[in-house]
Symmetry: C2
């Protein structure tokens, strides 16, 4: 609750304060760049182009290759230097046919999608009874061998969290559930999608089987379908499903990271590494995950480029594989091992507003955080407790002792659409996208010319 004196002050200031867009341009160069970013059109242009001209970009696919070429052309046209692809290979899983239905006692179709690394059913599918587990812990508690000839059904309701932390905990049903079910003898598994919506679009995503565990067919039901199946199970009669999933592991395929730079004036000051990931799940067009991230970081870097020379090189990376194991980030860290990075940060949480920042600067550079807090306050970004940045793409680099920062975006809508057919351009609010660009621009402006040495930080997570 807001206390009354504050409300009164707000009411008074509302009368006195000029409209945000009309305030005079600030003299401070950081503030000036930040406010210029609030009218940015580059980020929208990038994510609109990527989703319209390329669309889904699954790992190791021809579409991903086409997206890399598109990215190179786009980054060159925006004026970046040293634009190139850093290739690597990854083991590739390819979706096949997928369908499912309740056979009895209440026959009706189910909307589902195979999880990444799912095994395949026979070509005619599987028809087997369901064993219901309200949570992953309930599945864990099932006796070994008790699932032989059964399809495990794991429900688990996920609530939205501002910081996305519920994805970490609830997402285990997807990441670990199939492996657990396989070890207990299940013939297949269906989970309630890891999502905060109630729609029919299933949430794709990767699952992992331990070495030696044979991958079983594993699918995510849409949340609405999982809720319907749960209602059926709770009526008490045995429920039988038919599942058809024909994905395949197709071996090594080409992928790559697309790299672009805004060269700095001081090669010894270290590189600022920013970016997002170019790959996407295949059901949507990869707008919020993560067309937005590459768009936001690219737009911010371009604003820095256009504002004159800066001390540190800004390197924008459109990472390849993030979705199926983080091979893009790992390949980057390997290719750039030993290089001096001053900072690493990524944008991979949609396009809603940045609400907080967190950073783990070395002791000698903590003043940067104060200057950053001042620069971000006018656009509604609060300062969080000191903490390292995170994100699959930059974590292998951060793990070498590079300072890092998170510009935390609101997670309250993200998991409604994450990895679903609904991850399309329509989910991006242009105004919130621009606020993101402003936050990243301010961050870059503070760090690019910071006089402090940005050497290694102690590694703690």
């Amino acid at each position: 609750m807001i206390k009354k004196p504050i409300l009164a002050a707000l009411a008074a200031s509302a009368l006195a304060m000029p409209a945000f867009a009309q305030r005079p341009a600030p003299a401070d160069p950081v503030a000036k760049l930040r406010d210029a970013a609030l009218t940015d059109s580059v980020a929208w242009d990038v994510v609109e182009g990527l989703t319209t001209e390329i669309g889904p970009r699954p790992d190791g696919s021809p579409q991903e290759a086409r997206a890399r070429d598109w990215a190179v052309a786009k980054l060159k046209s925006l004026g970046f230097r040293n634009v190139h692809i850093e290739p690597y290979q990854l083991n590739t899983w390819v979706r096949g046919q997928e369908s499912g239905e309740v056979v009895s006692p209440y026959p009706q179709p189910l909307r589902l999608t195979a999880l990444g690394n799912s095994g395949a059913t026979p070509p005619e599918g599987l028809t087997l009874p369901v064993v219901f587990f309200p949570s992953l812990d309930d599945l864990r508690a099932a006796p070994d061998g008790s699932l032989t000839g059964k399809i495990a059904f794991v429900s688990n309701s996920m609530q939205p969290t501002m910081d996305g932390s519920s994805y970490g905990s609830q997402g285990q049903a997807r990441r670990a559930g199939p492996n657990i079910a396989a070890k207990k003898g299940a013939s297949a598994i269906v989970i309630r999608s890891i999502g905060t919506d109630h729609g029919r679009g299933p949430h794709a995503g990767v699952t992992m089987f331990e070495p030696g565990v044979t991958a079983i067919p594993a699918a995510a039901l849409s949340v609405a379908d999982a809720e319907n199946l749960e209602r059926m199970v709770k009526r008490g009669k045995p429920v039988t499903l038919h599942l058809l999933l024909t994905p395949q592991q197709v071996g090594l395929r080409d992928s790559g990271n697309v790299v672009a730079e805004v060269p700095g004036t001081d090669p010894l000051a270290g590189v600022i590494l920013i970016g997002g990931h170019l790959d996407s799940w295949d059901l949507g067009t990869g707008a919020i995950d993560d067309g937005a991230g590459v768009a936001i970081t690219t737009a911010a870097a371009k604003l820095l480029m256009e504002s004159g020379k800066h001390k540190r090189t800004i390197r924008v990376v459109w990472f390849g594989d993030e979705e199926t194991g983080g091979f893009g980030g790992a390949a980057y860290a390997k290719a750039h091992a030993g290089e001096h990075h001053a900072l690493a940060a990524e944008s991979d949480f949609g396009a809603d507003r940045v609400w907080r920042f967190q950073t783990n600067l070395p002791d000698n550079a903590k003043g940067i955080a104060d200057r950053l807090a001042a620069a971000l306050d006018p656009i509604g970004v609060i300062r969080g407790a000191p903490a390292p940045g995170d994100g699959t793409d930059v974590e292998p680099t951060i793990a070498t002792g590079v300072a890092s920062i998170n510009l935390n975006q609101s997670g309250l809508r993200y998991f409604d659409w994450h990895h679903t057919p609904e991850d399309t351009l329509d989910r991006i609010d242009p105004e919130q996208l621009r606020q993101n660009v402003a936050a990243w621009t301010a961050m870059l402006a503070v760090f690019a010319d910071a006089p402090e040495d940005l050497g290694p930080v102690s590694i703690q997570k």
Copy 2:
């Protein structure tokens, strides 16, 4: 805008008024029944059961037959009398495979669904260039023969309206567009879904070809896909699509109306006909269209039944085919021609709040509307200008001169999900559903015992 004195009065009454649920039970029997309906659980039970145990109910399908049996059992278990099926047959169209993609210049899959009565592509599909029409009028203006060897793409943005009237105007792109395109020589047509959302679920629905016009393949793109295709077209390069649609007309199949009654004490006073429709499109589970309608009207009739004897018979009909041509309503009107109906009304607009009523009572019975207005005011229902009721199921009966009423529901969310995969139980707000039951209960309580004669009304629409 609300005028200040009203605001002041509202503020005063907010302090003085006890919470709604705590007010003493009214002495007026109509008000008493209405308020009892606000705690109803029957409507939820019906729509939850229908969507969970049956799911989609396409016209002429085995699922629709199973739904009729389910309806008979449910209506008997609720205590209704004279529960029976009135069979009829209808020409049946069956969905087949359906897929589509942009072939060039920006290859990516499209989410679409065949429109009811769509023709089929060859088994290998069609690959043809697109001709874009921003509106149906633009399609109408295309020269005859200009679409030979082309796929027409008609966009048209639909805005939500409280009364659903935008469906009447914008829906013509679906209802009439394919016939117009076929007459101009198009090989196929895709339209932007008739919907107010921006999602990936295409909106199904029927289209009609004139006698002598060969049905062409006709599909609705999801709104998000249509917006994406429109962005592609506007880039200026020729756009080629591949479409695969294999629906079939399969001839006459069985359907039927499910009828149940609350017998009245005066056979000469006329029957009150209420209901909704049991059939649904196949992509969702038919929750808002129209499980909710049969649920609401059934729950209200049951409350009347339990409140003692009433003068007029209340007949609840779960109509068969509404979606593909209104064969259920026509079959009912034919089977009951010459029978004295006092009133006809249907619920077929989702489960959001009733906000207005409209009726066309004969001159001698206009006092009923005053009593109804008083009964509905406390649950937020305003009185509209006199007008006949409408709705595909009851219109053939109303057309014989039967008095009618609309209990208008808010249309502001309905076309986000109408005819899409998203028409599931999750879209129904239990509290709004109960408000619907209360409105229908109050309406039935007023009409069932009204002393006025409810004879024929002059027919005007």
